[in-house]
Symmetry: D2
Subunit: 375 residues, 4 copies
């Protein structure tokens, strides 16, 4: 079982546990000539870093990234880029209690079922900290996409039942992507709607008082992708995206375009009409497809949403069992976010970027004429 790689062409392989020596990632397949520095990557890691506001764990980690290989004089060389992030905050805590029982909503039980034992320090490989390696790799994917004029942007769409104003407001020209990002970055919850964010903050303060936690949804847009990315059968662009998203720890659902809403529409409502714009380009009047038709990008924005479950670590007492099966009442104290959603935003963005970078490379050989152009 070797499931720590993602991507077939722009391929990443990650390692690291929450309380081991380090986390890291190897990116194999990044084209040569991409301008890259540790700073580019650090910017993304800083967005994921804990302790930035009262809604994220106060764990102090600088999460400084070191580029170990694959660059020369400020550009990628085509060989594997390895990134290292040391764990600084490995407190010699007493884990004997947590080692003895199964936390509800966590992977303690399944780790034991699979491997016979587990690294119980801070969640080990199943910790949210694992996503730091994805973000580091995703930053490089974003740099690659940027060179081709492609932008990826995710944001908190809802926290519990507090939802940002309509998707159409963002997408139908009321705001530009830049404005969306700017509004998002003003919210401690990464929610690009000041009023909704304030309401969600109050709700979270309340929940925290109850030693409980909340879930929410994240929306993500990929703009500027050429049409034709993704394959027609198993490696559909949206299938890869769904895979990428459900591989993020707390994600329980994925939908693209009208998504589950499509189940309620009729054919004439769901179908997007084609038309020719003034410049002569073929466009779609609507985007219920979410930018993917038959598994291939159609040139519109790729637009999808994911559902994130509430933080499973809550201080409220919960029924569970010890390893030997005896009953136990768990109350998980310590540093835990009351909501995972805001910190997962950059993870969603990075996994989407990795999916797109992979599809871009995978599509190069789709036509004989491409080969004739390059050879």
């Amino acid at each position: 079982m070797n499931g720590s790689s993602f991507g077939n062409y722009f391929k990443i392989t990650t390692f690291g546990e929450s309380h081991g020596a380090a986390l890291g990632v190897i990116i194999d397949g990044c084209p040569a000539g991409l301008p890259l520095s540790a700073d580019n990557i650090q910017t993304y890691l800083d967005r994921r870093r804990p302790g930035q506001n009262s809604y994220s764990t106060p764990r102090k980690e600088n999460d400084l990234v070191e580029v170990l290989s694959g660059t020369f004089e400020g550009r990628t060389t085509g060989t594997p880029v390895a990134l290292l992030i040391r764990n600084e905050s490995q407190r010699s805590a007493d884990y004997s209690e947590i080692a003895s029982y199964y936390r509800p909503g966590h992977a303690d039980f399944t780790f034991d079922a699979k491997y016979g034992f587990r690294d119980y320090r801070g969640g080990g490989r199943s910790s949210g900290r694992e996503t730091a390696a994805r973000v580091a790799a995703g930053a490089i994917a974003c740099a690659l996409l940027g060179e081709l004029g492609i932008t990826v942007c995710a944001y908190t769409k809802s926290i519990s039942d507090t939802v940002c104003f309509g998707t159409d407001d963002y997408l139908s020209g009321r705001f530009s992507l830049d404005e969306l990002v700017s509004m998002r970055d003003k919210s401690p919850l990464n929610m690009p709607d000041a009023e909704a964010s304030a309401r969600a903050e109050r709700f979270l303060d309340e929940l925290r008082g109850q030693h409980n936690s909340a879930g929410g949804t994240i929306e993500c847009i990929l703009r500027g992708l050429p049409a034709g990315l993704g394959d027609t059968v198993f490696e559909k662009f949206d299938a890869r995206l769904a895979h990428a998203m459900l591989s993020i720890g707390a994600v329980k659902g994925f939908e693209i375009g009208s998504g589950f809403g499509a189940a309620l529409l009729t054919g004439t409502e769901q179908n997007d009409a084609f038309y020719t714009d003034e410049a002569g380009a073929i466009k779609k009047r609507t985007n219920h497809a979410g930018g993917v038709l038959g598994g291939m990008t159609d040139g519109s924005d790729v637009l999808f949403r994911v559902a994130v479950k509430p933080t499973p670590s809550v201080a409220a007492p919960q029924e569970t069992v010890k390893k030997d099966g005896t009953p136990y009442t768990a109350s998980i104290t310590g540093r835990h976010d009351p909501v995972i959603v805001p910190r997962a935003v950059v993870v969603v963005e990075c996994m989407a970027a990795l999916t797109a970078a992979d599809a871009l490379l995978g599509n190069l050989g789709s036509r004989l004429e491409h080969l004739k152009k390059l050879y």
Copy 2:
């Protein structure tokens, strides 16, 4: 771009267009010794076959499967099993019209964008007919699971806004899986709720009169999976399932357990309490997780849902363009299901079985003690 394979251990590779000579699949990695005959496979293909009732296309295809390799004296040999399904109904229709414009909601435009041209006969590789190969392969996966006491069962959960009575009714002991299957098989829509099915049938009859189509959702249960299947990072069991489901043509969303509903719950609501049953086994009181914790199966039922969009081929007039960009009003006549959902049920079941078979094989090497037991 070679996206016609699925699975890393129990690996299938499919081929075939709607109106080419044949469809088929190679299953590579099926363990030796599995009892298998063409009849086992035919049973599954017959469930997918068109023309079975008034809600599926009257296209006449017997979809007879031929086993070309990989079996000997009624058992798999460990070498690739190849399955062939001839296309019988290749009518020499006039496709010149369909070749000239882009059908809304279809892959015509994206095929041209990717490859420069397309096999426009009946949707080519993007036809729903492509799923016949998946079903044939999935039948073998089901046979393998069956040997290990694992059952997969999917059914129509809703058509437009007509929903079967609650999931809890099926799952909390009111009905057994066998009863569920039996009720499902009585409905032409594969809806295991006679009353809801009748309502949905009336709705579809109405829609058909309007030359329109409907969407819906499918629910699927995997029962009997051992705990520990799936990997902890990118190859999570639910990530693989999501990939499998979104790879089915008309699927626009995937959710596991409480799914998008989890975004509305608190931590204490979403977490499933562990307890020890009378036999001493560790169980969960609820299953909001949908049977997967940290990417690994937890021994409960794996339970997920997918959203299926309405059939894109509708006779109602639709705005679109020709290949050269000139406006065109499309009205797609011919044999098309008013709803895809019922026929997709067996496809969902088969893709789930393929995912599970792959995870079962992938998990064999998870512990050194397993190797010591076998070598």
Copy 3:
């Protein structure tokens, strides 16, 4: 264990046993727009077909190939190309004897060790007949290479101790590749040296009288490959070639350039001097490297040799055991080539072409500037 695929980008997956219903292959990843007909493929299969002269088995197989998918109006569409070759000569022979004992030099014993039983009819999946699927796929790879001005040419270099006149004669301009092919095609042994061929034929006639068989070597040239194909570490171009060659049933060795001879040279002898030719291109004065430096093609001919063992099926009596371990004297009668080498020539050529096609596609994303050129 799913080892019936080869290639990461131009990926083939084969199936079929010697005496099953059919053999075949799916080619996934072939670029769209490649002119292709069944005739192109048949030409290659005809070169492999048995019964063409007294040195190959008289088994009568027309080996007619059927293209099942992936082409439209004479060109590949980018979707999987499936090829089918029916087994015509499935004689209802009595295999009970061969089923009971282990033939020396064959895979009977190892099949039983791996799978617990085997399809004993004519060698099953381990039959030389398996290579028909490779050749069919290789023909498409050759067509792709041809579009880019790349030629692949293999020939019998030696049979037992009868060796063609020196490699340098072929390669240093005494003959062109076309002349080499023309001389090869005149020899029933595919040996482009009439005198050596005649000697080898006499030797084989003698061996046949002794119910014995001979081995030999095959040499192969790839001309016209652009520099830079192959990866720098594990997926070196020569490593992939070695893999491809040793995957052919009877091959026991592989060497590139000076090969095992390099072990006897000094550094100054082995190294190829670079110079600039009149047209300003950087060339090498010699080619001891065999056209690969550091795992990447260097623009010279790629030149390699393989060792082929003698046909293991001989009528001379051999010591062996039955399945239950009791001693048995085997004398394998029936239709068997006294030498495998000549028929393996086209297999070597096709596996080399598949390796090159895969490397060509895999190299497309090596530079950011390539992406900028195509997107």
Copy 4:
């Protein structure tokens, strides 16, 4: 192009350049429960380390390995094991000269051809130093094999035309594997024949005086492998081995069992007779097959040889060109081994171990009865 991974089940991914910050490897797929410490790995790295005697470069590298993840309380956890080796000896040398021209026998030219530029410091990714990561990973594979009673042993078979006494002396019981290792470890050239080693040492001293270098061969034995490892078509055990071996920088040839010698034998000579030993086990009287029949291990020793070219870096003057094509006479001074063979011995051993570990894991699902035993 992402060729820095090896293995499908026991999968390694390496990174690192000769003069970058570090080298390293991620091992993904190692079963949980394997006892492992940094010391186990260090022992192997120490065998590869330069500066151990007068026949290896005096570069001072301690090559200390750090285990970054994947172990807990002295055992592997089943999650990725990451290993890091810092480059200590990154001298701020002046590389401007080496940057300007193409060294014969090196990858300078092909790197530029592929990527447009290169990291010219000390050979970059193509340096022999890259193998440190393979050795670190291979040490873990060796530990895994050791738990199952499998031994891997490589040694210098020849240097130029100085050959150890016959293979049969080692293999037919005159020496045990332990004795072989002990004799090997006494030779600075890893040559388990004191007399031949002394002769080769004198020859190398002479060559060094001439600013030249020598090649040689390495032989490797895998003992204790169960029968049935490897696949029957493309992933044959020997095909994987050939791939592994040719992926080592200076290797130009691979042969298994009688290898190229098989081309000179008759069928009755090459075939190994089966017999039943006193314990009732089926054995082979000879091992011309080299332990692999039809791509699967047959229970005998797997025995193969590789050809290693002479060190390409020689101080003797060589004709070459600058990047712009102007003629240049290169004389490569600095720290270079007069022969690569002795230091490559442990690399061969480790790549063989990685191949075997991968095949062991890949074979677990070969029979349905295996699954029934584990689930």
